[in-house]
């Protein structure tokens, strides 16, 4: 009885998806300058503009759907969203579960620590320190592999924003993240007061991946081709550079 009423109740509320509507999942937690909500609750940022441009170029009707980062891959595989465009790096580990489009940006990875603190982006430089990273990111995997042996503790955060807050509050000694996201933090009032870049970590393409791409359910090649075409189109016609110029001083497409 309960199960049947459940199904009935759900079907009442659930509208069948419109034919061409594509739900693009972004992380529900703020990730400035790529995606964050403004005071009226609208999502703004470089990645949001990019999504709109890609969708326009690929002639798709997109709906931006915020999902908890923690469950963003399950949300994709269980069908609550159709694609992930949430600064997710293309890694071999993720490719066992989902497919990726071509990359649409790529940035170096840096360690940020308190001003004047004795932190360096090496296993020795982080010995005895508390490092904060965002859960299920390439940074979490990297820190686990290279710094777990020497660091005092690795703290896992749901969002980079929380790790930044705790870095400013002195609860962690260092955090590892994308240099672009960290530049935005370091340019903010809080960031300027507390912290500075300690340099880039040594590269490891297997973990750090091949840039950021759109995640898609396995086997949905049609959608992937459409997104790839959209990305190629906006790079070709200059829209990509125009969006980038609004946020960054140089291109973030990377090599």
């Amino acid at each position: 009885m309960t199960f049947r009423s459940l199904v009935a109740a759900t079907l009442l509320f659930a509208a069948p998806a419109a034919a061409q509507e594509v739900k693009i999942g972004i992380a529900a937690e703020a990730y400035p300058p790529f995606a964050s909500p403004d005071a009226s609750g609208n999502w703004v940022g470089w990645e949001v503009e990019l999504i709109n441009a890609v969708c326009a170029a690929a002639e798709m009707q997109c709906v931006i759907t915020p999902v908890a980062w923690d469950g963003i891959i399950p949300s994709l595989t269980s069908g609550q969203i159709d694609a992930i465009m949430a600064s997710m790096s293309i890694t071999e580990e993720r490719m066992q579960t989902i497919d990726f489009s071509d990359k649409y940006y790529n940035t170096p990875t840096v360690i940020v620590g308190a001003k004047g603190g004795d932190v360096a982006p090496t296993p020795e430089g982080l010995a005895g320190k508390i490092i904060g990273v965002q859960a299920s990111t390439i940074h979490a995997a990297y820190v686990e592999k290279y710094f777990a042996g020497t660091a005092a503790e690795i703290k896992i955060y749901q969002t980079q924003d929380e790790a930044n807050s705790d870095l400013a509050a002195g609860r962690i000694d260092a955090t590892q993240a994308d240099s672009i996201a960290m530049d935005a933090f370091l340019a903010s009032e809080t960031g300027m007061a507390c912290c500075e870049t300690k340099g880039a970590v040594a590269d490891d393409p297997v973990i750090l991946g091949l840039g950021v791409g759109a995640g898609i359910r396995k086997g949905e090649d049609e959608l992937r081709e459409k997104i790839n075409a959209g990305i190629a189109a906006i790079i070709a016609d200059g829209t990509y550079d125009k969006i980038t110029a609004g946020y960054f001083s140089s291109s973030i497409y990377g090599g």
Partner: protein, 245 residues
């Protein structure tokens, strides 16, 4: 002292129009209340069926209901929400795909209502079962002896009398429903708590926003308590109060 100074300097962040976040918070509140209402309603429905099933159902129905209420009351809501939120939507979609239908998209709103409703249903089952038991059995037997059909019996005799006994428990459940909507923040649904968190982390005015959201929840709680007290007085209107007869 410091908290007070910080609070005063950031109060204009609560203004109703941007750059104030007030309107966004209120939208989050509206979503929270709507989900709580839906979950409470669904919980009442499940609870009524469950209570009748536990009292008058066959042995199998009783066993199944016991399993349901035991699991829901022992496993944290957060975990039930995660299991139901992902497993529920993906199993419905798998079912639809295997029957040759299109994938449907279940909104966070609907999923939230269903998930919290299932949790509420387990508690409502117990509350309503207790309330039905509080109706003197002689009255039900009398009505049955007069040949009253079961549905009319429920509507005319059991329900009106159990209401008074059920209201305190239901009021408690409603308050739990409003507070449990905060758990949907963990799956990324933009209800009051998540919106507050977003506003706080964007503006770094943690105190201002968490206090404001706390005040909103408190207003809901106080208003509901008053409302349920009146409702209880109304439901008890026919009853003899000790000392006045």
């Amino acid at each position: 002292m410091i908290a007070g100074a910080v609070l005063a300097s950031t109060l204009d962040l609560l203004a109703l129009s941007p750059p104030g976040w007030g309107a966004t918070l209120l939208t989050g509140l509206a979503k929270s209340v709507m989900i709580a209402l839906g979950a409470f309603g669904l919980g009442l429905l499940i609870g009524t069926l469950g209570a009748y099933g536990k009292l008058y159902g066959g042995p199998l129905a009783r066993d199944l209901l016991a399993i349901y209420t035991t699991i829901v009351r022992a496993v944290p809501e957060l975990i039930l929400i995660l299991i139901l939120y992902f497993a529920f939507t993906s199993s419905i979609n798998n079912l639809l795909l295997s029957w040759g239908f299109e994938r449907i998209q279940i909104s966070g709103f609907a999923a939230g209502i269903v998930v919290l409703g299932v949790v509420q249903g387990a508690y409502a089952t117990e509350v309503l079962r207790g309330a039905i038991l509080s109706v003197p059995s002689g009255q039900i037997e009398a009505a049955r002896a007069m040949g009253m059909p079961p549905l009319m019996l429920a509507w005319r005799v059991t329900l009106p009398q159990m209401l008074a006994a059920a209201i305190p428990g239901l009021a408690n459940l409603w308050l739990i429903a409003t507070k449990d909507t905060a758990l949907l923040a963990v799956v990324g649904f933009a209800e009051l708590t998540l919106v507050t968190r977003q506003a706080a982390s964007t503006t770094k005015a943690f105190f201002t926003f968490f206090m404001a959201a706390g005040a909103l929840y408190l207003i809901i709680s106080i208003l509901s308590t008053l409302l349920f007290a009146r409702l209880e007085a109304w439901a008890r209107r026919g009853q003899v109060r000790p000392g006045t007869s």
